[in-house]
């Protein structure tokens, strides 16, 4: 009998060893609680349960904070916070990825985090930039931060760019708090635009206004194009997500891509490219506007210089007065520019240390942590932003990136330009690349390529998009 039991143990071990490598598939996700994923996470194991860490016996509380990237910003915040609050420990978890397997590592991070969250064993705090916020929200995996904000007397809304925070809400609830954001807009040369004599009202223009303005601008015979854009399919995708409600019913059950308004929009975009109002060649040199993403006040000055250099390749006298313009908005939405959140954090609904986690978020939103000028992203803290601007002005000039197109030359901190940024930082009200329309956008971009390449008719593409959109919406 002894022999048998030895054999049995050996057999079990062998079976486990043989089958272990096949267990990484889909079954992992839907089993969720089976615990098979805890052992195999390489670096970050978001599955490491929080309830084990939040020790109730001692007074020390642990907040598990999961991110994909290792981020000095969070490390600094953790160090300072722990110094101020000796009874709280913040455990930063990030993934040990390698460059060669980055994409697979990212995917794995998302799936393991999803599984852990669904099983109720996720971290307390999560950086949501890579994670599906909408799905988490739908399944009630995240804590609504707005009651915490409302009850917390030390959190004063006036201190923050509420135009950003309020516009990433889902209804009245806020599940994911942006710590910083980027501005998405156009770069254009004030001088060159002034020469056309056309009035550009970028604070309130819609895509229809833009088309009209574009026509009158090219009519003056200056630059050949008005906007430089990656390709017609992207412009179409953009215009559709801007007019999302026109094509998808609000309850998300019915799509109207087989309508005349969609084929009309496709034809309009094609027309704009055919007439040369918008062009994808020239990389912004031959157009009044080009798309830009502004990452910080410092980046604003630098990327405007770079954009100016590009313009000079086409017209020597232009490109000296580059500034930011707001991107046109959708017909039926409020006027204002676009932003993109960067470093959004959320608290797990299952966390046992919610008040502490909120306190830490508030700490990361504070002026001290946010005002460092070296980090990427506009801080959502207004005072921190003012400090960054003030310091730049005081500095007067700074060195550009050595590897960049300016080769480390000095950049003047133009006070007027920096002050002009205020309007855009306060006026950005539309989150760019809304998650909800992301899948649709991808769909439209891939399918419409065939139309713009002249392979299919607009109607044929519209039908394909309509069918796939309906499949997506009815799942």
């Amino acid at each position: 009998m002894k022999k048998y039991s030895k054999g049995l143990i050996a057999g079990c071990l062998l079976a486990l060893a043989l089958t272990a490598c096949t267990g990484g598939g889909l079954t992992n996700g839907n089993a969720g609680s089976s615990g098979s994923e805890t052992g195999e996470g390489t670096g970050a194991s978001p599955a490491a349960s929080s309830d084990g860490n939040a020790s109730h016996d001692g007074s020390k509380k642990t907040i598990v904070f999961s991110t994909f990237w290792q981020d000095p910003k969070y490390e600094e915040a953790k160090k300072e916070y722990e110094a101020l609050h000796p009874d709280v420990e913040i455990k930063l978890e990030n993934v040990d990825y390698t460059d060669a397997t980055l994409e697979a590592d990212m995917e794995k991070y998302v799936t393991t985090t999803n599984a852990a969250m669904l099983a109720g064993k996720g971290p307390d705090l999560l950086e949501m930039d890579m994670l599906p916020v909408d799905s988490y929200m739908k399944h009630g995996l995240l804590t609504d931060l707005s009651p915490m904000m409302a009850q917390d007397n030390s959190f004063k809304k006036a201190d923050y760019f509420m135009n950003v925070i309020d516009n990433v809400r889902a209804g009245d609830s806020l599940y994911s708090m942006p710590l910083s954001f980027f501005l998405m807009g156009f770069a254009g040369d004030e001088g060159a635009i002034g020469k056309t004599g056309v009035k550009v009202d970028d604070q309130s223009w819609s895509w229809a206004d833009f088309t009209k303005t574009a026509k009158s601008m090219t009519a003056t015979g200056g630059l050949p194009s008005v906007l430089s854009y990656e390709g017609p399919e992207y412009l179409l995708g953009e215009m559709v997500s801007d007019n999302y409600s026109l094509f998808v019913e609000p309850d998300g059950r019915k799509a109207h891509f087989d309508s005349a308004s969609f084929t009309g929009l496709m034809k309009q975009v094609k027309g704009m490219f055919d007439e040369g109002l918008v062009s994808k060649i020239g990389r912004g040199a031959n157009a009044y506007f080009q798309s830009v993403q502004i990452n910080s006040p410092k980046d604003y000055l630098e990327s405007m210089q770079v954009a100016g250099l590009q313009m000079k390749m086409f017209a020597k006298e232009d490109g000296d007065h580059m500034k930011l313009y707001a991107k046109p908005h959708a017909q039926d939405t409020a006027a204002g520019g676009y932003f993109k959140t960067y470093r959004s954090v959320a608290i797990s609904e299952n966390s046992k240390v919610k008040p502490e986690a909120w306190d830490f978020i508030k700490f990361m939103l504070s002026q001290d942590i946010q005002s460092a000028a070296t980090t990427t992203g506009f801080p959502v803290n207004k005072a921190a932003y003012a400090i960054q601007i003030g310091e730049l002005k005081k500095q007067g000039a700074f060195k550009s990136a050595e590897e960049g197109p300016l080769h480390g030359s000095m950049i003047q901190a133009d006070g007027g330009m920096l002050s002009g940024l205020d309007t855009y930082v306060n006026g950005a009200v539309h989150p760019a690349q809304d998650n909800k329309s992301d899948k649709m956008r991808e769909l439209i971009i891939t399918e419409s390529k065939a139309y713009f390449a002249g392979q299919k008719t607009a109607e044929a593409v519209a039908n394909l998009v309509q069918n796939k959109a309906m499949t997506y919406l009815n799942e």
Partner: protein
């Protein structure tokens, strides 16, 4: 006897444990999940998830497409592999080489096969180039009603060798005397085929049919690589639906769909096995 049973259990234990840990237990958990709401806490909601599932037009479409695919693909595969098996059962020039070559699709990695097929059926691909030379209009094969035929062809191409080998083994186990006796008694070729080959091949055919049906559910891997997560309407199958639900984190619908699918497969298999048993009892 009980000692034998214990020993048998012992030897079965490793695979049984492996099977339970990685298939049975997750499935049972999934089955339970399909009757609960949301993942955390999970209260029982009866058949609500199933009702939701059946209300989803996309699910119905996916189920319809999967059924259509199996209904067209499997008979076609069996007829073709049977023809091949009968042809290769005679002495034929290069017979063993031919047999080997039909097995090759099984060992070629899927991803590389898919690449070749993609190149072949792309808008700017080989097939369209030929059409163009013949002066015909180009077709976007994967985005038209041809797409399912392409996947059927791919499925047949991939599985024909395996089925053929199984059927060949079946054919060779039929004693030659039967045919000799039949031909002495004046039975023609067709009569021999109908009354000897088909009858004695039936047990093998049941098995081949079963394997083919199960393999037809596995064609998702190829379709997914070929056409992505939202393919042309006709190609959208149950596994696409489940895959997309997985990424949407909709565990409830996912497990409900999986349970329904397993239920259908179990019903189909047990029906087939019962038919086989009845056939065997009749022929004895």
């Amino acid at each position: 006897m009980s000692r034998d049973g214990a020993v048998a259990g012992l030897f079965l234990a490793p695979s049984l444990i492996g099977f339970s840990v990685f298939y049975l237990i997750p499935f049972v958990l999934g089955f339970y999940q399909s009757f609960t709401d949301g993942a955390i806490g999970g209260q029982l909601v009866g058949f609500r998830n199933y009702a939701d599932l059946l209300h989803s037009a996309s699910f119905r479409k996916a189920a319809g497409n999967t059924m259509l695919f199996t209904a067209v693909g499997v008979p076609l595969l069996i007829i073709l592999s049977m023809t091949l098996a009968i042809l290769l059962n005679r002495s034929l020039y290069l017979r063993s080489w031919l047999r080997t070559s039909f097995m090759l699709p099984l060992v070629v990695p899927v991803a590389s096969v898919v690449t070749v097929w993609q190149v072949f059926f792309d808008w700017n691909g080989t097939l369209n180039a030929w059409l163009h030379e013949l002066g015909m209009a180009r077709v976007d094969w994967m985005q038209s009603n041809w797409s399912m035929s392409i996947v059927v062809v791919m499925y047949v191409w991939k599985n024909i060798g395996y089925d053929m080998i199984l059927l060949l083994a079946g054919l060779q186990s039929i004693p030659k005397d039967y045919y000799e006796t039949a031909s002495l008694e004046g039975a023609g070729r067709f009569r021999q085929f109908r009354h000897i080959t088909v009858i004695y091949l039936t047990p093998t055919l049941f098995f081949v049919l079963l394997i083919s049906i199960i393999n037809s559910f596995k064609v998702f891997r190829e379709t997914y690589l070929l056409a992505g997560d939202y393919p042309y309407d006709r190609l959208y199958m149950l596994q696409h639906y489940m895959n997309n639900m997985f990424f949407e984190l909709d565990v409830q619908k996912l497990t409900a769909a999986a349970t329904l699918m397993v239920g259908c497969i179990v019903m189909l298999t047990s029906g087939l096995l019962r038919a086989e048993r009845r056939f065997r009892e009749n022929s004895e």
